[in-house]
């Protein structure tokens, strides 16, 4: 079993043992749930309920809108008390559309219909997945149904990769899930393998999780799926890095992983897929690591929409010295503005970070051109060049250095001796480029519409002139006939009626 190391990467602090010793515990049922309608990449789900509606556990409350979208479900039974804008976990601290549910505590389910996936047309199966709200639970929350469609990117999938690397410090939700529910994960992999028919199924797990590796290997016995321990080196859980590690393949800069015959899913996604297909249960909960400066760090199985504050309280509350509340890991996560925001499908970890975990946020000093960032960049980029260009707002040049290949893993910022927030510059540059692109598209649309309007006005003018020419008799005849009063009245009436037909025209003429 050969592994193919990727460029760069880091040995980071681990902090895994704080939370991975206890079994996953179900969190207490909260009194109120705030379920965001945008918990996935793509278009926001359309609300299907209104204030006052009773909902059952697992009832669909958000309809996927468009191809890249996913459904949202009521995590428990109760009554909808509001469909409005609420604060959501997002780096901006802004609000987004949410369905608030007053929980009745009865946990009454909708009718659950397990699906016999082996006798279902692939597109029907994908629809079931989409309507069950299955998205990538590694944190990127990309709708899984879209990824389960190869759509001509490759003839046949070579490798199906299951990502159990969980390389970020502090996070242990996938570790506990693999230890405790390996057979269910494997049942989910069966579904993926059935649909994608890969030549090989590889499960990548970092070697600092021997229990998870053993549990997964036991569950995979006799299936032909291969569990491959990978060295503990951040960011081995990045899709591109894990693909390189396991298969030695690299996707082209502007291509997708399916172009090289690889597709990758998180192990937790496979688990929810199993629940959706074999039990008819949509995605209404997830495992969340609550750790850092809390009294009892642990993994909780949490209903989506549960406020962070309740999970903190359930973990014994904050300890002294908490500086920031972070969603996700310390390297790729973001700081929250408020601890009352709800858990979403993207919430893999809630980290109450102390001052010692936030070394990155000290004042930055000038770049000394040491090149340490380049040595650790797992995407093999030149972070220092990207930094100069992003800082100077030279976005074209930043793109020449493959800005969009940056996975924002944070390795460069982590090693920077001047503590420059490099990733922030890259994010800023990416966002600006996207915004400019959007502006350009809008301007192009306006240009086309303006052009169409000018053409229409010209056409109308010509038509009007043609009409007038037709109506007005030739001059010589007019002189000979001498218009009678009745004839001119008829003319006037005709003109009036045609004016009534098209008011725009009439007013334009008046003007």
């Amino acid at each position: 079993m050969r592994l193919f190391p990727f460029h760069g990467g880091l040995k980071t602090v681990r902090h895994k043992t704080e939370s991975n010793r206890q079994a996953i515990r179900a969190a207490a049922l909260p009194k109120r749930l705030i379920v965001p309608l945008r918990q996935h990449v793509g278009a926001i789900a359309k609300p299907l309920v209104k204030t006052g509606d009773p909902v059952l556990k697992g009832q669909r409350i958000g309809q996927p809108d468009g191809y890249v979208s996913a459904a949202v479900h009521a995590p428990t039974s109760g009554v909808v008390i509001a469909v409005d804008q609420q604060p959501v976990p997002h780096p901006s601290g802004m609000t987004d559309w949410c369905v608030s549910i007053e929980v009745d505590g009865e946990e009454r389910w909708i009718e659950r219909c397990p699906v016999d996936y082996q006798h279902l047309h692939p597109s029907d199966l994908r629809n079931v997945v989409r309507n069950a709200g299955v998205v990538g639970l590694g944190g990127a929350v990309f709708p899984s149904a879209v990824k389960m469609n190869l759509s001509g990117h490759c003839e046949r999938l070579e490798h199906l990769i299951l990502n159990g690397a969980e390389c970020e410090p502090w996070m242990t939700c996938d570790d506990r899930l693999m230890r405790e529910r390996a057979p269910e994960i494997v049942a989910g992999i069966h579904i993926l393998a059935h649909l994608l028919a890969p030549r090989e199924v590889l499960i990548g797990i970092e070697d600092d999780k021997p229990e998870a590796i053993a549990a997964m290997a036991a569950a995979c016995a006799g299936t032909g799926y291969e569990v491959r321990p990978v060295p503990t080196r951040y960011p081995s859980g990045g899709v591109k890095q894990l693909t390189k590690l396991l298969t030695n393949k690299e996707a082209p800069t502007d291509g997708r992983s399916t172009d090289i015959g690889v597709q990758c899913f998180n192990v937790a996604t496979a688990y929810t897929l199993h629940r959706a297909i074999h039990h008819g249960e949509p995605v209404i909960s997830r495992i969340v690591t609550v750790t850092g400066h809390v009294k009892q760090p642990q993994n909780l199985e949490v209903l989506l929409g549960t406020p962070f504050a309740e999970l903190i309280a359930e973990s014994g509350g904050y300890q002294d010295g908490v500086q920031r509340l972070i969603m996700g890991g310390p390297l790729m996560g973001f700081a929250l503005h408020d601890d009352r925001v709800p858990v979403t499908k993207a919430t893999n970890c809630i980290l109450a970070a102390g001052a010692e975990d936030l070394a990155l946020e000290q004042p930055a000093m000038p770049c000394i051109r040491c090149g340490a960032c380049m040595d650790v960049c797992p995407a093999d980029l030149l972070p220092q060049q990207l930094y100069w260009h992003a800082r100077a707002k030279e976005f074209d040049k930043a793109q020449d250095y493959h800005l969009f290949s940056c996975i924002e893993c944070g390795c460069c910022s982590y090693v920077c001796p001047s503590r420059i927030p490099l990733v922030q510059y890259y994010r800023y540059a990416k966002n600006e480029i996207w915004a400019q692109e959007k502006e350009k598209q809008k301007a192009e649309l306006a240009r086309q519409r303006h052009q169409a309007r000018l053409e229409r006005l010209e056409r109308e003018k010509q038509e009007r002139e043609a009409k007038l020419r037709q109506k007005a008799p030739p001059r010589s005849d007019a002189a000979a006939e001498k218009p009678t009063p009745t004839a001119s009245i008829a003319h006037a009436k005709e003109a009036a009626s045609s004016a009534a037909d098209s008011p725009t025209e009439a007013i334009a003429r008046d003007a």
């Binding site: 959501v88 004042p363 000093m365 927030p421 922030q424 990416k430 301007a443 303006h450």
Partner: protein, 190 residues
């Protein structure tokens, strides 16, 4: 002497034919520089530059009748892009043409609209929907914020509202923690 004259004459004749052929064969329709200037302009068609739209302004710039700093919606970025394209020095926006403003959106107070269609005729991008004696409304997605509909409205029921920030259009800002030499010096002192 004769040979040289004949040779040069033939060479000149041949080059002339070649150039004549190229002029016909590779003729460029329209002025490409106008297209490229037009592509930089924001296409609001607001007329603040003093021309009847973005395209006429682009044509005027191309022939040197207008300066590059007359487009308030394009703002500083637009002027810099134009300067780069035309090989000139960027200059500040001409205040006679207006000031750079945040992006706005026309909104019709539908209660007060009398359905006169005047704004519909004024809109350069056909972004207002309605008919005579019926309520009008602005198609927000198509509105360029040019403000041309404000003046014709006889009941002043159109307002320009700033585009509300939404989570889907939110952007990461320029990092605040700029390189601070002072604090570094302070730390060194400690």
């Amino acid at each position: 002497m004769m040979v040289a004259a004949v040779a040069l004459g033939l060479l000149a004749g041949a080059s002339g034919l070649l150039l004549g052929f190229a002029a016909v064969r590779f003729r460029v329709e329209g002025d490409p520089i106008v297209e490229r200037i037009d592509a930089i302009l924001p296409q609001t068609q607001c007329g603040q530059c003093g021309f009847a739209g973005c395209r006429p302004y682009a044509e005027a710039i191309a022939v040197g009748e207008a300066d590059i700093n007359q487009c308030p919606p394009g703002g500083e970025n637009g002027i810099v892009a134009l300067a780069e394209l035309l090989g000139r020095d960027p200059k500040p926006l001409n205040p006679e043409n207006g000031a750079e403003k945040p992006k706005m959106l026309a909104v019709i107070d539908e209660q007060n609209c009398i359905g006169c269609t005047l704004c519909i005729q004024a809109c350069p991008v056909d972004a207002i929907l309605g008919a005579a004696k019926h309520m009008h409304t602005v198609i927000a997605k198509e509105c360029t914020g040019c403000e041309l509909c404000l003046a014709p409205c006889p009941v002043d029921c159109i307002q320009m509202l700033p585009v509300t920030p939404a989570i889907s259009t939110w952007k990461w800002t320029y990092p605040m923690a700029e390189t601070k030499v002072e604090s570094a010096a302070a730390e060194a002192a400690v």
